[in-house]
């Protein structure tokens, strides 16, 4: 299995389609096929929700046309489903034009950053930071480890829960990415186990 490539989903209606400097530079840094641009917020949200099993950074505008979801609605809908997608709000507005309730929503639901769309080098920096964070997360570490196994191993039953449900490695990864209750529990257990192993000196870092 190929490792899921990082997807950068840009949902913004004020960019020049295909050749906006922001899109070009993102393509340069992360590979053109990794950058997906939606001008329509409804379609963008649909894509994100359909691909939650991927590693994703979302760049999201706040204003959209009539009949489309607002950026805040899209943001809330994503965060309702998962905490593992990093969302960076990019807007042409200045901060004091954004309503207080909207700002509160963004902070409370962990928007990674709010940045002005004027400043594309800064946006690229933020995406790099998000990508780095993502690589060091449990699900990414697990993915790397899973990838070191043969395809047959990955699809073989690996874990049986107390209730008798059987999971393959690939399924465990999906559960974590989709932040299901089982996925969340599993994520916690893996971290605890890692710390436990380190503490007992059974494993050393860089081992």
């Amino acid at each position: 299995m190929e490792s899921y490539p990082l997807k950068i989903v840009v949902i913004h209606d004020g960019l020049i389609p295909k050749i906006d400097p922001l899109l070009v530079e993102l393509g340069n840094k992360f590979g053109e096929e990794s950058v997906i641009h939606f001008e329509n917020s409804n379609k963008g949200l649909e894509y994100v929700l359909d691909n939650l099993n991927q590693k994703m950074v979302v760049l999201l505008d706040i204003n959209f046309s009539h009949g489309e979801l607002s950026g805040i609605q899209v943001f809330e809908d994503i965060k309702k489903r998962t905490a593992l997608v990093y969302v960076i709000m990019i807007t042409a507005r200045s901060l004091n034009e954004i309503s207080h309730p909207d700002l509160i929503t963004m902070i409370n639901h962990d928007a990674m950053a709010i940045e002005n769309v004027f400043n594309y080098p800064k946006i690229i920096e933020l995406v790099e930071k998000a990508a780095h964070k993502m690589e060091t997360r449990v699900d990414s570490a697990l993915e790397q480890w899973i990838n070191s196994h043969s395809e047959a191993d990955r699809e073989r039953p690996y874990l049986t829960t107390r209730t008798g449900k059987v999971y393959t490695l690939t399924q465990i990864l999906d559960e974590i990415r989709l932040q299901t209750p089982y996925g969340q529990e599993m994520e916690g257990n893996i971290l605890m186990l890692a710390i436990d192993l380190l503490a007992r000196g059974k494993k050393e870092i860089n081992d």
Partner: protein
């Protein structure tokens, strides 16, 4: 209460869930309130010592329980795991006192109060408590509250009474009829200027009773004199459930500006509707019942109700009922105005009659009596002076009225100009954003042969964006330039000018057949250029759309309905793609980018119409099989 009540209910959290009955035993039959069963513990916020004195009817002794909240506090600090001990783990002191058998009831005596209670605080408490029980549908047996203070002499077992509603100028109430399943509602009768009641089906939120008291200027003056300018008493609509106030409304704020307006009564006024009554002009009492209105549920934080369709409809219903008084307000104002005008005219007529009478006397009676004639002269001059003064006054009065209307119009336009400016600056910023990103890309990457193609594209795109910016600023200038003023103008004439002068040449060369159908005209006070731009935009869109057609048609029709002026604008071009009807009004949204469309025109059209409080929408096309029809609705100004 008896000992078991105190022991197993009062001191235990969440006892409400254990209830089997919804109502307390007779004769009270009161609905139990409080879903979580923790409210009683709030008394510890008031003071650290609590004495519960309670006695059931017929019992021969009164139970006294002493609760020392400090002790609980101490216990929780002492306990190693920092976990608060269960209330039941603490033994509270109690004893019995002798009492008369007929006595009954419960007293909570709070001492060691944690804050200073000034007379102002006590007054505030009194005021809040007085609103706890509905003033119009009192509980039976009564729910009496007595306030007792050992320090303030004004509160010695003082009975808390609801404020009588006095001095109002208008009043109306509605009820319901469960048997016929009907709800009453208010209707304003234009002819008589009176408020009538009518019946309709019971609404989704269930049947309600509603009393509204409206205070006009005069009434407010009387009220303020009587209550020494304490107008916190006139404070909008309160909702009572089964005779007891619902929590969100009980909150006190000494400053009017910080008051909660959860029904959204005042919010509307700032949006435009200055003639809508505000919370400071209305006392309203709305009665609901747990059984009849089960969908109106308090939100857990007690700051509002749970937002559902039923609550939204209830809010709407309340606003509709209150708005009736707005119509009365307008009616009364017009009436006053016409009374003043009529009086002036009558005075003018009387002076004229008087002057005629003097002339008659002069002619018939004192023609040859010069000494009398001399005496009459100053009188004649006086009458003439009076007559011209009155004529001038009438003129002045009319001018003043016109001025008021004009000022109100300007005010409305200025308010919406703010929104308009915000929208336009967003358009400008989006363009600037594109330009800046492209310029920055040059700065970082130039020269680099890998990007040569992009550099060329960017150069021409920057040029295009600059053109867009020029267009947008032109639009703004057309509104801001100093030679453009507010004026009265006829929309019909303005459009005739456009159709038969400005565009006639284009229509001829493009071979476009124009139909112009105006049933009514509409006079607008505003910026003519501002409105002209709207139609120029739509017309030029149509001309572009008709480019490839052979039988070209444009039609513009207009008429008045009850509340607005309605314009239809149609062409028989290829029409608007289904699903795009709203999208086309968005900034930079265009399907004609190849023909130089920038997606700004309709955006500005919509924003301008919104600024006039109107609407524009794409409706079903008039011309078949293809075409586009826009419907523009401009509401009447309130006068």
């Amino acid at each position: 209460m008896d000992f078991t009540d105190v022991d197993t209910k009062w001191m235990v959290v969440g006892t409400n869930s254990k209830r089997v009955s919804l109502y307390s035993p007779g004769p009270f039959n009161r609905r139990y309130v409080g879903e979580k069963g923790i409210g009683r513990f709030a008394v510890d916020k008031l003071g650290s010592q609590l004495l519960i004195k309670t006695k059931q009817q017929g019992a021969d002794k009164r139970l006294i329980v002493h609760i020392d909240w400090d002790y609980y506090e101490q216990k929780s600090v002492e306990s190693t795991d920092r976990q608060m001990s269960l209330f039941t783990e603490v033994d509270n002191e109690y004893h019995y006192e002798d009492a008369t058998p007929t006595d009954h009831g419960t007293t909570l005596e709070i001492t060691n109060v944690s804050e200073t209670w000034s007379s102002h605080d006590l007054e505030r408490l009194y005021k809040e408590l007085s609103r706890l029980v509905s003033p119009f549908y009192p509980l039976n047996p009564p729910f009496n509250i007595y306030m007792n203070s050992n320090e303030n002499g004004e509160y010695k077992m003082r009975l808390v009474k609801p404020d009588p509603v006095k001095f109002y100028s208008h009043h109306a109430e509605i009820t319901f009829d469960l048997e016929r399943q009907k709800q009453q509602f208010l209707r304003y009768d234009k002819e008589s200027g009176k408020i009538l009641t009518e019946w309709t089906e019971i609404k989704s939120f269930g049947p309600v009773k509603f009393k509204i008291f409206y205070f006009d200027e005069g009434a407010k003056k009387r009220y303020n004199t009587a209550y020494k300018n304490d107008d916190t008493r006139i404070d909008g609509v309160k909702i009572y459930r089964d005779g007891v106030i619902t929590t969100p409304f009980a909150e006190y704020h000494s400053s009017q500006n910080h008051k909660r307006d959860i029904l959204g009564i005042d919010k509307r006024r700032w949006r435009a509707a200055f003639d809508k009554p505000s919370t400071r002009e209305i006392i309203g009492v709305l009665e609901i019942k747990q059984e009849l209105n089960p969908k109106i549920v308090d939100a857990t934080n007690r700051q509002d109700f749970i937002d559902n369709d039923e609550y939204r409809q209830l809010k709407e219903f309340i606003l509709e009922q209150i708005d009736i008084f707005g119509d009365v307000k307008i009616h009364d104002r017009d009436l006053n105005r016409s009374v003043a005008e009529m009086e002036l005219q009558k005075a003018g007529q009387e002076v004229k009659n008087f002057s005629n009478a003097i002339e008659k006397i002069e002619r018939e009676l004192i023609q040859d009596k010069p000494h009398l004639k001399e005496k009459l002269e100053p009188l004649k001059a006086q009458v003439q002076h009076l007559s011209s003064t009155i004529t001038a006054s009438i003129k002045e009065q009319k001018k003043f009225q016109k001025d008021v209307v004009r000022k109100e119009n300007i005010y409305l336009s200025l308010m919406s100009l703010q929104d308009y400016a915000a929208n336009i600056s967003h358009a400008i910023r989006t363009s600037l954003g594109k330009i800046k990103r492209m310029a920055e890309f040059f700065k970082i990457n130039f020269p680099n042969s890998k990007f040569d193609r992009l550099f060329i594209d960017y150069a021409s795109l920057i040029n295009e964006e600059m053109n867009t910016l020029i267009k947008v600023t032109d639009f703004m200038l057309s509104y801001a330039s100093s030679d453009v003023q507010f004026e009265d103008f006829s929309i019909k004439e303005m459009l005739e000018e456009l159709f038969f002068n400005a565009y006639s040449q284009t229509f001829r060369t493009e071979n476009i057949n124009v139909e112009f159908e105006f049933k009514d005209d509409f006079i607008i006070n505003g910026n003519k250029k501002f409105l002209q731009d709207i139609f120029q935009n739509i017309i030029s869109n149509s001309i572009k759309a008709l480019k490839q057609r052979s039988n070209k048609q444009i039609k513009c029709s207009a008429f008045l309905d009850d509340n607005s002026f309605i314009l239809f604008f149609s062409d028989n071009g290829p029409g608007i793609v289904k699903g795009d009807e709203k999208w086309i009004f968005g900034l930079y949204n265009t399907r004609t980018a190849e023909q130089g469309g920038s997606g700004i025109g309709l955006y500005i059209v919509e924003k301008r119409i919104e600024a006039l409080k109107g609407t524009i929408e794409v409706v079903e096309n008039e011309f078949k099989p293809t075409g586009a029809t826009f419907k523009i609705k401009l509401p009447f100004n309130k006068n």
